[in-house]
Symmetry: C2
Subunit: 277 residues, 2 copies
């Protein structure tokens, strides 16, 4: 059974990113829009800064108060996107619930949208236009490449359909010729799908939701869930009961998480390169 070392795979990608950054004449900058002052969000932003700076990418946080008005935030994001020094812009999620998330995300133009969450980036990815991949998709692809996981012809179950994990994963599987099922909150009997899955990709943020009795032996388990549980970051799989039945499992933390940050920065470098042309 393989416990994926996401940090090790990420290190290889970050080496390439570092080389590209060093070869670039221009200073590359990642702009991060942060609304409010949530402690978990702050942790993720700090982690991005640490990794970005380790490869020579400048990171700048644009903080907004929790009470910012939707129109003001959207207008400011539009300005930040136009700012030439920002090679890429991301909106740190989740946003406070009074803000229209998708409307704010749509202010990021495809030329700066390294998270691929705007309507235009989502459309481009769905139809196969452009070279970027959503970070979670790139993370899964890199793990699959490192360990020889094949998707075509397998029975794949995606748990959850949110904008950060389930949706981009579904769009990728749709493009790539795979057979897949989506189970979510409204599914009466998710276990009936999970039981026959060869590959499970989960991103619901419910600690230890998927247990060993729900899955068959030999599966590949991709855990893109992150939630706080008893002061620690926990994934969607109950590792104690699921891992012994897996051919491969990604731990939380240390699996998909570090890879999504590496792919985010690779996207930034790819966009910088394509703009030079």
């Amino acid at each position: 059974m393989i416990i994926v070392d996401g940090k090790a795979i990420a290190a290889g990608i970050l080496d390439e990113v570092r080389n590209e950054v060093a070869a670039s004449k221009k200073k590359l900058r990642l702009g991060v829009v942060v609304v409010g002052n949530d402690v978990v969000t702050r942790h993720f932003v700090m982690e991005k800064r640490r990794v970005a700076e380790s490869v020579g990418i400048d990171m700048r946080v644009y903080p907004f108060p929790e009470t910012v008005m939707p129109n003001e935030l959207r207008a400011r994001v539009t300005e930040l996107v136009r700012e030439e020094h920002n090679t890429g812009i991301i909106i740190q999620l989740p946003l406070p619930s009074h803000l229209p998330r998708q409307h704010i995300l749509n202010a990021v133009t495809p030329e700066k949208d390294i998270d691929m969450l705007s309507a235009r980036a989502v459309g481009n990815f769905t139809v196969g236009k452009g070279v970027l991949v959503p970070p979670v998709v790139g993370a899964i692809q890199e793990i699959a490449a490192a360990h020889g996981v094949e998707f075509i012809g397998k029975n794949i179950v995606v748990v959850g359909a949110g904008p950060l994990v389930g949706r981009p994963v579904v769009l990728w599987l749709l493009r790539s010729g795979a057979t897949f099922s989506v189970v979510r909150k409204s599914t009466p009997d998710p276990a009936s799908f999970l039981r026959s899955a060869d590959i499970i990709i989960s991103g619901i943020g419910k600690p230890r939701f998927i247990t060993g009795v729900m899955v068959k032996t030999g599966i590949a388990a991709f855990d893109a869930g992150t939630a706080e549980s008893e002061g620690k970051i926990a994934g969607d799989f109950d590792d104690d009961s699921v891992a012994p039945k897996c051919s491969l499992i990604t731990p939380v933390p240390g699996g998909i998480g570090p890879l999504t940050v590496a792919i985010l920065l690779r996207n930034l470098v790819l966009l910088a390169r394509s703009r030079k042309k």
Copy 2:
């Protein structure tokens, strides 16, 4: 068992479209780009013209030779989209295989894209921006509304993942909170999915591919497949063996087909209305 009368449901939508067209100060025009001279394509184009004219919408065909160069076609489509008199523009599919289909489709801007096949329209629909729906999705929604079919909490199987049927249906199910599986050419055992389905939506264009032994009793069968078989248009379901097991089935022809044309024209009217604001 209900055999859906697509023409009757379409007639109600077309009545509303006719009223909107009559109330509009401007003449509305549907521009149809047709490449080559395929006989089946010509049949579908003639049918669109007949329906468009029956509600007072002017239809103009822009013909191109089979040998048109990609760049020339894309440039001409861009011009036709800019032409103010064209309220909506569609590219009649399939295109000859030497043409980059998606690249041509992307030349249609969202303000004119009533088929919703461009990258931007696909992105808008996926994230829930805008009011249009892809014609096949609108067709299924209207049938469901007419006959009280519910999708949430059901086991839905989508057969095929092409740009005209499977993809827009998946994007809709993804948005709408449904539980669904996608089976396609690469799926080792499609029957294992079909057997447990409550609702099957198929758009592969393989005459009578789905037979009665593959499905359980009581299903709703949405047949969006159209292929020529022995000189007639045939759907993906083998009606003789499937229909007796269905609670509802859409025939081919006369089911989803007439409704997609009605939704296409409704999209045109909706775009015309939103432009006036």
